[in-house]
Each structure stands twice: as C-alpha cells, then as structure tokens.
C-alpha cells in the first residue's frame, strides 16, 4: 500500500473485487438454472431450452408444457427457496452472534412440520382452501405461531441471545415430541406423507408458489438492506454496537421476525430443507467477509446456488427418480462446506 492512496480508495478496490465475484456467482447461478431446466427424462437439449425460453413457438406443445409447467418452476423454486434460506441463515447468525445458527435453530422448521403434520394426519381443510395449499398453509401457520411465541417471550424477558436461543431450543424439543406423538397416532399412509414432507422436495413447485416465495423474498430484502450497517456493526460485538447507540434487542426481534417469515414461506411449500441456511452464510463469509452489503447478497446467492445444484443432482443420481432435495442438499453441501473450510485452514486465513 503506497502512502499516497487513501484507505477509502483501497477499500473501494476491495469492494470492486467483491462485486465482481458476486457478479460471477450470479452468472454461474444462471448457468446452473439453465442446466437444471435442460435435465430431465424428456430429452431436450440445452440449445432447445435456451431458444424455447425466448421463443416458445420453437417447441412442440408437449415440450412447451414440460419446459413451462414442470422444469422452469422447479428450477426457479430451487433458486427462490435457496435464496430465502441463505439470507435468513445469514441474518440469523449475525443477530444470534453464533455461526451455528440457521433458520432451523429456533424451531421454525419444526413448527412448520408440526403444522403440516396436523394437516396431513387429521385432514382438516381450513377456510375451504384448495387442496394443494392446505399443507403449506398449515405449515406456515405453525411456523408463524412459533415465531410469535418466541417474540412474545423475548419481549417480556429481554431479547438477549441466551433467552432467545433457550426459548427456541425448548420449543424445538417440545415440537419434536408433539410431531412424534402425531406420527404415533397416524395411519401408515399419512405417516409416509409426513416423512416425505420432512425430507424436503421441490417437486410440488408451481408458478404460483414460486411467485409467492419470490415476492416474500423481494419484500424482505429491502428491509435487510436498510439495516446492513447496524448488522455489520453488531459483528464487532453486542456491547460495542450498543455503545454506539444501536438498539440491539430491538434489532434482534425485528430481524428474527423477518427471517422467520421468510423461512416459513420457503419451507411451507417444500418441506424441511435445513442445510442451506447453515452453509450458505459460511460460504458467503469465506468469500466476502462480513460487510453485510456483500455478506447478505452473497449468502442468498450461495443458498440459491446450493439448492439449485442439489436439485440437479436429485434428478440425475438415479435417472427417472427424484430423490428428495432435502437429502441431496445435505449430501452435497457437507463435502462442499468441509472442502472450503479445510482449504481456508490450509491457507491459514
């Protein structure tokens, strides 16, 4: 560093570097989505897909149906859900000051599973909802119920990291017990559905569902962006952030609420997909550090990347069989994550 350059100029160079990487990641993601769309039992070539997306008359009706009603929603659902979970995990890790935190930490996914199980086993249909929305609706309601409970409890007894995590963990186990109870009384058909739900699958994706998840992500993102500096300051330590005048507990409750809504919506349609929200933020942190202007979009991109990649594998490992994405995500995510970690340790960074 020469004495002439200012720190601000040096930092701008670092930011440019990070922006280029973000851009590259985005390009790779677009490529993966295209690849995802082109893979499947009906033999459509990559070129056919690309032209088909821009000019649907180049494909037969049947091919159009496969492209627009099956493959595209499936591939885009992977991106939207992955982005939601990645962003949610990143914010969760910051406000709970814990790299092990993820959208699952506070029992949101378990609450969603609980809601879904109720719907599957007792087959009740609230407000005359269309059939394929009953389970997502109940899952979402369960998750939001859990969130509100944590919010109420934390507001009442102080939203310190310890309180929030302990309440979350207590709820986690209580929900697990209740889910087991429902499983115990369920008939074998419902039981199978429940188990399938907990494996997480993108197969039920439709344009409507993609739209809803995307909309929630798009609504939450600006709020995340508004708080990037406070969140970045919080990484220096809670005491410090408070000392600058950041109202940390308020920030924590707001962020937890936003994160939980995003998670609830994402998993309501797919079932439990746990790993993305834990690993996405780690990958982003390794690549972009913790300036939240880059860390948050990086985590969303990384989440989308992992789930999109996993969804390709879930189609291709056993041709003709769609292995639930929740399973594949963990199976490819763990080696990827460990590889990055080991590489980082080797370089001594």
């Amino acid at each position: 560093m020469s004495a002439k350059t200012t720190l601000a100029a040096d930092y701008r160079r670092l930011m440019l570097h990070r922006m280029i990487w973000l851009g590259l990641m985005f390009c790779v993601l677009v490529f993966i989505v295209m690849l995802n769309v082109s893979i499947g039992p009906a033999k459509l070539s990559f070129g056919q897909i690309v032209t088909g997306v821009f000019n649907s008359s180049s494909l037969t009706d049947n091919e159009n149906l496969i492209l627009w009603q099956l493959r595209l929603p499936y591939a885009l659902m992977a991106v939207c859900v992955g982005a939601c979970l990645g962003l949610a995990g990143a914010e969760m890790q910051t406000v709970l000051n814990n790299p092990l935190a993820s959208p699952t930490t506070l029992g949101v996914m378990h609450a969603a599973t609980f809601g879904a199980s109720l719907a599957i086993v007792f087959k009740f249909i609230p407000f005359g909802l269309p059939e394929n929305y009953v389970v997502p609706f109940c899952a979402f309601t369960g998750a939001i119920g859990a969130v509100l409970f944590i919010q109420y409890f934390s507001k009442r007894f102080g939203a310190t990291v310890d309180t929030v995590i302990l309440v979350g963990i207590a709820m986690f186990f209580a929900l697990e017990a209740m889910i087991s109870l429902i499983q115990f009384v369920a008939d074998s058909d419902s039981l199978q559905q429940m188990v399938f739900w907990t494996m997480g699958s993108l197969a039920r994706a439709t344009w409507e569902k993609v739209g809803i998840v995307f909309l929630v992500f798009a609504i939450c993102l600006p709020f995340s962006i508004r708080q990037v500096w406070k969140m970045t300051a919080l990484r220096g330590g809670e005491e410090y952030a408070k000392s600058f005048g950041v109202s940390v507990e308020r920030l924590r409750l707001i962020v937890l609420f936003r994160v939980s809504v995003m998670t609830a919506v994402a998993v309501a349609f797919t079932g439990v997909i746990g790993f993305v929200g834990l690993v996405g933020p780690h990958i982003s942190r390794l690549a972009f550090g913790e300036d939240h202007r880059f860390y948050l979009p990086g985590a969303a991109l990384a989440g989308a990347f992992i789930l999109a990649g996993a969804s390709i594998l879930s189609k291709t490992i056993v041709p003709g069989i769609l292995i639930p994405d929740g399973i594949v995500t963990a199976l490819i995510g763990i080696p990827l994550f460990l590889g990055l970690l080991i590489n980082q340790k080797r370089r001594g960074k």
């Binding site: 200012t6 720190l7 601000a8 040096d10 930092y11 670092l14 000051n97 500096w229 406070k230 970045t232 300051a233 990484r235 220096g236 330590g237 005491e239 410090y240 952030a241 408070k242 000392s243 600058f244 005048g245 950041v246 109202s247 942190r285 550090g289 913790e290 300036d291």
Partner: protein, 261 residues
C-alpha cells in the same frame, strides 16, 4: 465547551445497590478524569449508566441537557463509550468495523464525510497498517485499538473509556493517552476513564474520582485525591505516595492488608 454534571446518582446491579449518592461538582470541558477504585466497586456500571446502556437513578446533564431525555441519535453524537470487553474477533476487517460503527448510527452524514472521518482516526491512532486485517487475526491489543477507533471516529464530546489500555503494551498505552488528551483539549471535551494502573491515571489525568465502599471516597486533583490513607481505605493496601522528579504523585504499593478491619 462541554459541561458534565452528575447529581444524586444511584447505581444498582440487579437488586444490589452498587454505588449511591454520586454527586459531583460540574466537570468542565478539557478535563480528563481517572476513575479509580478496587475490583467490583462499580466503575464499569458507572460508565455504562453514563453511556445510556445501563439503568440508574438520579440526573446526568451534558451541556445542560438531561442525558436520559436524549434520543439515540443525539446521544451517539455526543457520547462515545468504549466497553471493557475487546471487540469480537470476527472476519470483519478493521476498516469495516470502524466504518460501520459510524454509519450505523449516523445516517445523517454522507458517505464521503464518514470516509474522511475514518481515514483520520486510523492516522491519529497510528493503526493504518491494520486497516485491512480481519479482527480475528489481530492481537488483543490491536483489537483494543480498533475498538477505540470505533468510539473516537464520531468525535464525541464526552468520552467514556472503560480501561482502554488494559491489553496494550507501554508504548501503545502512552500513545492512547496522548491521542485522548489531545482530543479532549482540542474539542474541549471530557473524558472519564476507569483504569487499574493507578500511576498511569495520576500522571495523565487532571482529576481523580476514587470510589470505595459504595460511594465516592475522593474527587479532586491527583495529589489531593490519592493519599496513603485513601489507598488503605479503597484498595486495602499499605503503601507510599511519593512525588516523582516532575512533581507528579507516584504510588508504591507495599503490603496487602486483610479485608476485615
């Protein structure tokens, strides 16, 4: 010209009252106050209360305005508080830590103004070379310097620095005192600084505030506040207070006394 006036302050830690009847004469701008006292007497609780992070009863006026009635934004513009803990060792680089400390609470300042302020503070503290190192890769002392940078970057007129030199070697200790002193004199601000190194405090501070047994034992210039008698009462230590060749008081601790009298 800053003036700090603390009236009838009582501090509790949970249900236990830690310090009571804190009444101080007005502290004028340009004053460095060393806050002394044994472990657990309530120095940090006192700092947290003044910073608006901890609860207290009583009244604190800064420039005639009740601190309790200030908004977050007002307070963060006027008061800079350095907690006793070190900044967390994360992958945030030092520059980001200082930049975010400023931008998180001063949305009213433009990005370029903030950049200039950050630039200045890294120069003033002599830690430019650390700017792009992750906090997790810095030593304790270096992180303490970054923490200090986060606080003084906003140029507050009331500095509350809780043991800012606890992790620093001799040279950096002196460096910190130089910077803080010149900042206080330049801006006519006030600095309150709890510190364990009595001699460092006696040498560099204009006033000494000595806490003992739940209240103020002494407040005044170093030579008046730190006597052998006060040393005995506050710290339970038998020692001598000598005068060094430059006329400053110097404490030599000799024997520890039993706690019960």
């Amino acid at each position: 010209m800053s003036v700090l006036h603390i009236q009838d302050m009582t501090l509790s830690y949970g249900a236990k009252t830690v310090l009571s009847d804190i009444d101080l004469p007005e502290i004028q701008g340009g004053t460095m106050v060393g806050v002394l006292g044994p472990n657990g007497v309530g120095k940090s609780t006192f700092m947290r209360a003044l910073a608006g992070v901890g609860d207290y009863s009583g009244r604190v006026f800064l420039d005639g305005e009740n601190v309790e009635e200030m908004t977050y934004l007002q307070r963060s513009g006027l008061i800079g508080y350095l907690p006793q803990t070190l900044p967390q060792g994360t992958s945030l680089v030092a520059y980001e830590a200082v930049l975010s400390a400023c931008r998180a609470v001063r949305p009213d300042l433009s990005a370029s103004v903030v950049e200039d302020m950050v630039e200045e503070v890294f120069d003033v503290l002599g830690i430019r070379h650390l700017a792009f190192h992750a906090l997790s890769k810095l030593s304790g002392g270096q992180r303490q310097m970054v923490g200090l940078a986060q606080v003084i970057v906003r140029k507050p007129s009331l500095l509350l620095l809780d043991e800012p030199t606890s992790a620093l070697d001799l040279r950096w200790q002196l460096g910190v005192f130089d910077v803080v002193k010149s900042l206080v004199k330049q801006r006519n601000g006030i600095c309150l600084m709890p510190i364990h190194d009595i001699n460092l405090a006696l040498r560099h501070c204009d006033q000494i505030l000595l806490f003992s047994r739940g209240g103020i034992l002494a407040y005044g210039p170093p030579e008046a506040a730190m006597t052998e008698e006060n040393l005995r009462i506050a710290y339970r230590v038998e020692g001598r207070v000598e005068t060094c060749s430059q006329g400053k008081p110097y404490v030599i601790a000799e024997t520890a006394l039993p706690f019960s009298e």
